[in-house]
């Protein structure tokens, strides 16, 4: 039972990080139709920029928000320079462009920060707490709390503010949104900035647990993508559930089967889900227009 709780908490912690990334994926995908494979690089940038600010002597409470703002700006630039010029291109081309952006950002990070792993101090003094027999890092608890706060904030943003409604409108029907006076082009840039900020936050949350390196981005991004697919591509709640599910699959398979095969099991489960329910675990079926 102790071990079970331990795996559960570990899974939920890492799952929350995936969930933050997945929400970023959903935001971009639904507003722009682009699947941003560079999403993980935003997490990497968020983590490494935070480290730089902390090393420069700033408090961690200022460093992380600053890093999030910087990364959001980078996300904005990525959209303006790389995505906007190819509006409406085929998925293959968009995939390759976001892969190119991902590789480019990774290279820039390598040039700035080098190959050595950097560590970020935890938000609060890191003392383990006992919960139902499991030893829990306080950082994990903070991750849960921050995820919860953000979900509420995102819900409020998308449902209650004008900008959020405009974003959702450009997702539903870009043409109609344009007729209603919404600048769909700007919405796309805003979606990228939000996603980049969420990614940066995820990166800054995970950095105290696993060290930050220039090449941490791609695979963590893919995990976010998997979480989004579990949740059915379109819903933020689904993405969060998918993220937590993926985190738990990894933790339990690592604990009970073998740490060697964690990735194989997680991605095997993904294929299984895609085969039986390609529309996602938490959605209804849908058709396509011909």
């Amino acid at each position: 039972m102790d071990l079970f709780m331990q795996y559960l908490i570990t899974g939920l912690t890492i799952g929350s990080v995936y969930a933050l990334l997945a929400v970023g994926f959903v935001t971009i995908y639904n507003v722009t139709g682009v699947l941003n494979l560079a999403q993980g690089e935003f997490a990497m940038l968020g983590a490494l920029i935070s480290v730089t600010f902390v090393q420069a002597g700033l408090s961690i409470y200022i460093s992380i928000p600053l890093a999030i703002v910087c990364t959001a700006l980078i996300g904005f630039l990525v959209e303006r320079l790389a995505i906007n010029p190819v509006k409406g291109a085929k998925p293959g081309i968009l995939i390759v462009i976001t892969l190119g952006v991902s590789i480019f950002l990774k290279g820039v990070a390598l040039l700035i920060w080098g190959t050595a792993p950097k560590s970020l101090p935890p938000l609060f003094e890191n003392k383990p707490v006992q919960i139902l027999g499991a030893v829990v890092n306080t950082q994990s608890l903070w991750i849960f709390l921050i995820l919860a706060i953000h979900l509420v904030a995102l819900y409020w943003f998308f449902d209650k503010t004008f900008l959020g409604s405009a974003l959702r409108a450009s997702e539903r029907n870009a043409h109609a949104a344009t007729l209603m006076g919404i600048n769909v082009k700007n919405m796309s840039a805003i979606a990228f900035s939000i996603a980049a900020a969420l990614g940066a936050l995820a990166g800054a949350m995970i950095a105290p647990l696993t060290d930050a390196t220039y090449d941490m981005g791609f695979f963590i991004g893919i995990k976010g993508f998997v979480a989004m697919v579990f949740g059915g591509m379109h819903s933020i709640q689904g993405a969060v559930a998918g993220g937590l599910l993926l985190g738990m699959i990894e933790a339990f398979s690592g604990g009970y089967v073998s740490t060697y095969y964690t990735d194989a099991i997680a991605f095997g489960f993904l294929l299984f889900v895609l085969f039986i329910r390609p529309q996602g675990l938490f959605t209804k079926a849908e058709g396509t227009h011909v």
């Binding site: 995908y29 699947l35 790389a82 010029p85 190819v86 409406g88 291109a89 085929k90 998925p91 293959g92 081309i93 995939i95 390759v96 462009i97 892969l99 190119g100 952006v101 991902s102 590789i103 480019f104 950002l105 990774k106 290279g107 820039v108 390598l110 040039l111 080098g114 190959t115 791609f218 893919i222 993508f225 998997v226 697919v229 591509m233 073998s258 060697y260 095969y261 964690t262 990735d263 194989a264 991605f267 095997g268 993904l270 294929l271 895609l274 085969f275 390609p278 396509t288 011909v290």
Partner: protein
């Protein structure tokens, strides 16, 4: 009918002859060991990218997982020859057959997916194969890799010799090009092309699309397996990290940058990206004294710029040039311009 096929398929013998002459003459010009190794690797990569261009350019399906099939081929060859003392040729053929079957059965399910999700599913296949190669240490040697793979020997010709192996690899590439060319010109090729243009449309004509998609997926995987076997016998040492997702991305980028709509595009992309990477690496290490894989900055940048300004790849430059020449002569009444279908799934 003759006219129609002329418009549909540009003459291929001219290109092939130029290609063969180029391949035959290159070893006379190239003397450096380093460039020679690169030329051999180029041949090996070309085999995979030609297969990918069939899949991406003709059938319109994407894959970020072909490094997995490359890996299966390489490990089948390596394990069967070093642990079971099997003949290298038999091992290559067994590897190709195994890969075909695996790709076929996986493809039946995977190719029901489309666009981004298909891309993710192929990444998943790649990661699963990679973890198995890493984890099954008794067979594959795990992360430490597998060494001592024998050189090839063909009817008494020693293919351990660089020049011999160079010709051997490029002869195989030529055969692959001819085979793929025939495939494209067959009715299978026409069906594939129409899948690329409108899957629903061709399905409405009563053709079982999925069968052809899976077939081409399995064929392109088999090419990758063949390339993997050649790689294993050439380098004589393999480790799982070669066969991970970054290599699949590299292959995809080669095909897209070269141009997906023709086999030559895949080859041009392979050459361009390989020399770009090697060139930047050479300059940055020898003149700028930076270490690590910093070449990826330029590489990433070039990919983005290429896709924005030349979405049909380098090969579209040649097409544009040819079209200008042709404008004077052809007026067959058949106006079969390639239509750019936007959207898709």
């Amino acid at each position: 009918m003759k006219n129609a096929s002329k418009v549909l398929y540009p003459g291929r013998w001219k290109g092939l002859v130029i290609f063969i002459v180029l391949i035959a003459l290159l070893p006379i010009v190239v003397t450096t060991q380093y460039v020679f190794t690169l030329l051999i690797l180029l041949g090996i990569y070309s085999i995979i990218t030609i297969g990918l261009s069939l899949l991406i350019g003709y059938a319109g399906q994407i894959s970020i997982g072909h490094a997995a099939f490359y890996g299966i081929g390489a490990y089948m060859s390596a394990v069967l020859t070093t642990k079971f003392n099997m003949s290298a040729w038999l091992a290559i053929i067994l590897g190709m057959m195994t890969t075909f079957l695996i790709a076929y059965f996986v493809g039946v399910r995977v190719l029901k997916l489309k666009g981004h999700i298909l891309a993710l599913a192929t990444i998943a296949i790649n990661i699963i194969v990679y973890t198995i190669l890493n984890g099954w240490t008794e067979m594959t040697g795990g992360a430490l890799g597998l060494g001592g793979i024998p050189k090839l020997n063909f009817l008494g010709i020693d293919l351990g010799n660089q020049v011999n192996f160079y010709y051997f690899v490029w002869i195989i590439v030529t055969l692959v090009i001819i085979f793929s060319g025939n495939l494209i010109r067959s009715n299978v090729g026409r069906i594939l092309r129409s899948i690329h243009d409108s899957e629903t449309g061709i399905e409405a004509l009563g053709i079982q699309v999925s069968k052809y998609k899976v077939l081409i997926f399995a064929i392109s995987a088999t090419y990758a397996s063949l390339a993997g076997s050649l790689y294993a016998h050439y380098i004589q040492f393999i480790s799982p990290s070669t066969f991970n997702v970054p290599f699949s991305i590299l292959l995809l980028v080669m095909v897209m940058v070269g141009g997906v709509h023709s086999i030559w595009g895949a080859m041009i992309g392979t050459v361009a990206i390989t020399f770009l990477n090697e060139g930047i690496r050479y300059i940055s290490h020898n003149y700028l004294h930076v270490s690590g894989e910093v070449e990826i900055i330029v590489y990433g940048f070039v990919i983005v710029v290429m896709m924005i300004f030349m979405p049909n790849g380098i090969v579209s430059l040649f097409d544009r040039f040819q079209k200008r020449n042709k404008e004077h002569e052809s007026d067959s009444g058949l106006d079969l311009k390639p239509v750019d279908v936007k959207g898709g799934a």
